[in-house]
Subunit: 682 residues, 2 copies
């Protein structure tokens, strides 16, 4: 039943192949009529290809193809170009097709964003960081020679920088705090107390300048002023001890010899799932998978027993917003999508990131180069024994028997390293038709140089290291198409919760019973269906189809959120609209082809004029009998403590949500599982 | 380091052995000077031994023994007797010692409860249910012969009963609704529409009587009135189809042939943990374990790296409170402790309830008999590969390396079957010094006969079956002794949460930054430290010791709760005080030897005069620098739906809490793990 999808149907969602990427690059190089420089060495004043991705066809078109025998939609790519060498520098998005032999391109920028996208919004390329590094090394540091040599023991290579973001306070700004660390393993834990504010807004690198310098709690106009204050003994020097190359306390090198090998999983007759191109098949489940180079994992056409439940499930954004009494720290509100959640999902280590027996899949990206790169084994798929029964009952009343079923689960995983942090993205498929989405945070914490009242913003975790508090808020799009047979999309959102009613007992009418009862309500409009972040959700929330199950209840899937989110940025913040998805723990909107994502990678460098503002999606449209999308925010407040060194642990640092059948079937579908066990005395 | 506990020390917490139980019974039979009848055949008007348990010595005494070289406390048992054959029938609790050769007993009832415990509070023995069954069969059903034969097709054996509880509306009542079901496999899903209210308060069985009868939405004075209404055609008959012996839709028999074997775990060099008597040792962890016959799993002296973190961690109660439009359903507020969470933890099925390779341990109980019974293999202990890294980081900036560690976890598990329901009790020990406590719910739902506006109280899940809504609320006691070296017990409770402050950026003072900062607060009194059930907790709550870690922060353990609790019973309910622990998601009190448990098994049959009322513990005593206890409520609202048939699944139905080190160490203790992995290009 799970295999009713014809071979190749799911390819309509497939990521670009390396070959397709090369073809698009060749086409662009030959057909744009402008000089293109490879992004890995482009100056801000030049043109380059920033990145490519597949252009997933419009949903209506895909459904015609998948469900109604329509033609296969033409295969197209999305190409994003930074045009620095134009009269009006800008970011341009082109759709290029048809693949594999491109013959046309069209500029979709204005259609998508309602206007041209200004050049200053472009995400910062690796080459720009390299150019800033060169600027610091050749022009900035030399202007404070004594300070750099005596306090920093600077030798041209022993300092590493970490960027803050956003970069300024108003649209057009590109002024970034760079925080300096000892360049050792795990350098994120070794701040040296120096931070430099660089104005790199000019397209002419020679015009870049230092706007401000920070050292150990004091601000200076520039390095020259810092040097002179230092020479005059007017600064409080807090010299850090030189760390060894392995970072000492930041090192992850084992300290104990390896012990007895841990328990391992094996598959007596090989895997029980299949991975076929971009599709996974497992015990009634099927889905297509891919990775957006920016926003990361995306799943399409998730079906159980042949019926579509979810059209699209995709990560949208990961926000890390910090507090600190150092300027870099207090400026930091990373929107990880703009760094590249997908392309920074690197190779997984077999037996550690995923089980030895997992299936590992390569992903190809074209970003900031003209040739595709492969992240080998960067997605894994495996069946896991959760060492729990899915269900069980031991009967000792009336008759003795035992029935049960193991809870094995199919997991798809990728892990993205975003500067210091590693996010583990999991998608789990349970044997009862439930899905689970969860994210674990690990990797290095970010840190500030400890000074003054630093512990108002975190905990001291090293001699000079302040582990700075931050929130991790993560946003998902879930285009549920519950009961989505043959392109049937209409749905309602219901909530159910409990109340108590005070009733006389019906058999004597002399006593009062406080009796729980159900309150069921249909939500009519987007504004009602936008649930604020820190207010408890109604206990049951479900996407309801018009069709009843055998018992007369509308077939539905329930959304259950597990989250410990921090506080959302106050709405009077000048950048709040750029992360306004964070206002809501759950928001349900009418699906629109023009609202494909809740944010934009252009929001990071111009959050003051957000290219996409999720708040605009919530405009009180009716949500009854519509194609609906759920947008879910999960997250937690992270106050780093000593045990975050060397790395944050995954234990307890996990958030996510379930999609659970709720009267969708007529009984638990696991009754049909071949893994069921029944024992009895008879 | 983990093995510094001398052999046998943990035996101070050990459950009674079968031999010890026999000795106590022999002692009681010989020394009480009253006739004792075996509880399995006792009449209400006779005396019997209800159950035995170990009498764990007072904490001060235990700590003198464990930490200060004091003498081993004498080993004693607690014996609970139902004295039905006394001028003033009562429940008496005796401490009997010393074991193994008892020579004394003392009555502790008045000391523990401030007075005698009235006989009517006694939990209902199996024999009492049997006596009620006989009463129904021999006296009640025969008085409605036509109805029973034609509507119920009653043949003397094809009906099963399920008890409601509590049993009435005021102290002294013992009037119970019994709900009738077809006596087939999974009968809980086969209500026939008949419910009988039996007054079994008299100690003279011949005085028992039917107080009311319910059939398909209507109430009758007794069976005679029902019969006559039936004969006159004045009742609406809703005859259910006779189910086959296997229960049809309630059956757990597999429907599909077994498929390829699932992934299995093996231990290449055997287990890496040790089970020694009642003690478990695993990678720095050690703890003593046991099972209270009533309240279930209990752990003592939980240490990590030789330091005590928790003195006692024990389950207290599981409440299931239902809504329904049938009388049995709407009366049901099960306090599972009074049924026996421990003694109904039955044998675990190898490879399904726990992994094949787990270590299985027997438990012995003496309850309602004079000879101990053994629940074979009813506790399991295993190391589990959670298929996640505990921590990992992939470095691509500055240098290329990978460091990480698998997240293997030690699990101790028991599963209690309480009538229809199965609770999976897990205690997890993580390699970073964190503990996790969680409970999964599975087994059969309870159900009512569908009639009228039944779906105000649940969902229809079968032809005549209403899956009735209910809350599962579960209470734990956690006597944290953070940093508990040498009997050092003092602690504080701190909370930390985030706020935003609006500050001018310190480098230009021209722009506003909304900066997160930490609010730390010490809680001074019990009333402040009692957090209501449905209000979000402060994001960080920790038990703080007076000693700082290397970085100057007080060593502490953080409590993190994962719960989806329903609404607590309104406080104006006449039985609310008996479950008043449910008012609080977390409450922290001064530890008192006189407040060992948050409830009493005597609360079920007299919730109107609770023998123990947790609310009384919260009397605003100071909680600074004291021996503190955390009391934690977790739970969820369960609105049964079609997929709860045949059994509730564990997916998504899990709640619990973490105890996580928070500046307790100087760095993550997993740095010393022999399982660490480090890879690098160098
Ligand atoms: Ca809208
Ligand atoms: Ca939809
Ligand atoms: Ca108190
Ligand atoms: Ca304590
Ligand atoms: Cu973090
Ligand atoms: Cu339940």
């Amino acid at each position: 039943e799970q295999e009713d999808t014809e071979d190749g149907q799911s390819l309509v969602f497939a990521d670009l192949s390396a070959e397709e990427m090369s073809q698009v690059v060749r086409y662009l190089q030959g057909h744009l009529g402008v000089p293109l420089v490879e992004a890995s060495r482009a100056k801000p004043s030049e043109n380059c290809i920033a990145w490519l991705d597949v252009q997933v066809p419009a949903k209506a078109e895909v459904l015609r193809f998948l469900d109604a025998g329509g033609a296969r939609p033409p295969r197209e790519a999305l190409a994003v170009l930074y045009f620095g060498k134009q009269p009006e520098p800008n970011i341009t998005e082109l759709v290029v097709g048809p693949l594999p032999r491109p013959a046309y391109h069209r500029d979709v920028t204005v259609h998508k964003y309602g206007g041209k996208v200004p050049y200053h919004r472009r995400p910062t390329l690796a080459v720009e960081y390299k150019q800033i590094g060169g600027f610091l090394k050749s022009q900035v540091f030399p202007s404070a020679p004594a300070f750099m040599q005596q306090v920093m023991e600077y030798d041209g290579a022993n300092l590493a920088t970490v960027t803050a973001a956003p970069r300024g306070f108003q649209s057009g700004d590109r002024v970034t705090w760079f925080v300096l660390f000892q360049n050792v393993s795990g350098f994120f834990l070794h701040p040296v107390g120096l931070e430099v504010l660089v104005d790199h807004s000019s397209l002419d690198i020679s015009e870049w300048a230092v706007s401000r310098v920070f050292y150990n709690g004091q601000y200076y106009r520039d390095m020259v002023q810092l040097e002179s204050a230092y020479m005059q003994g007017r600064i409080s020097v807090e010299k850090v001890r030189k760390a060894p190359r392995d970072g000492d306390f930041s090192s992850m090198k084992p300290r104990a010899p390896a012990a007895a090998p841990f328990p391992l999983q094996f598959e007596p007759q090989g895997p029980r799932y299949r991975v076929r191109n971009n599709q996974v098949l497992f015990q009634g489940w099927s889905f297509a998978f891919g990775m957006n180079p920016n926003t990361g994992p995306r799943l399409f056409d998730i079906r159980y027993r042949g019926e579509r439940i979810v059209y699209e499930l995709s990560l949208q954004e990961a926000l890390a917003l910090y507090g600190s009494n150092c300027p870099g720290g207090m400026s930091t509100r990373y929107l990880d999508g703009s760094f590249g959640i997908g392309r920074f999902a690197y190779e997984l280590v077999r037996g550690l990131d995923c089980p030895y027996t997992a299936t590992y899949v390569h992903r190809h990206y074209l970003a900031e180069t003209d040739t595709p790169k492969t992240n080998q084994n960067s997605l894994c798929i495996f069946e896991h024994d959760s060492a729990l029964p899915l269900r069980r009952h031991f009967s000792d009343s009336q008759s003795f028997y035992y029935g049960g079923l193991r809870r094995n689960v199919l997991v798809m995983r990728a892990i993205s390293t975003l500067i210091n942090y590693d996010y583990i993205w999991d998608f789990l498929f349970h044997p009862n038709g439930a899905m689970e989405v969860r994210v674990h945070a690990t990797g290095y914490i970010s840190s500030s140089f400890l000074h003054g009242r630093g512990t108002d913003y975190g905990n001291r975790v090293g001699p000079h290291t302040l582990g700075t508090m931050h929130i991790h808020h993560i946003h998902y799009k879930v285009d549920l198409d519950v009961d989505g047979r043959s392109g049937h999309l209409c749905a309602w959102l219901w909530f159910i919760d409990m109340e108590y009613e005070f009733v006389k007992d019906p058999w004597s009418a002399q006593n009062t019973i406080e009796r729980p009862y159900l309150r069921r309500e249909r939500l009519e409009r987007e504004d009602e269906a936008a649930f604020p972040l820190n207010v408890p959700l109604p206990r049951y929330l479900s996407f309801v189809s018009p069709n009843p199950n055998k018992w007369g209840h509308p077939r539905s899937y329930r959304i259950q959120v597990i989250s410990f989110a921090g506080k959302h940025l106050p709405t009077n913040s000048s950048m709040e609209r750029s992360v306004s998805w964070g206002r809501y723990q759950l928001a349900v909107t009418r699906r629109k082809e023009e609202e494909p994502t809740s944010t934009s990678i252009y929001n990071q460098n111009d959050p003051w004029t957000p290219t996409v503002a999720f708040a605009d999606f919530i405009n009180n449209e009716t949500i009854t009998n519509q194609d609906l999308v759920a947008w879910i925010t999960v997250g937690f407040l992270h106050v780093p403590h000593a045990e975050d060194v060397p790395n944050t642990v995954t234990v307890g640092n996990s958030v996510g949500f379930f999609l659970r059948p709720y009267n969708y079937f007529n009984e638990d579908p696991s009754v049909d599982s071949p893994d069921s066990v029944y024992l009895s005395r008879e």
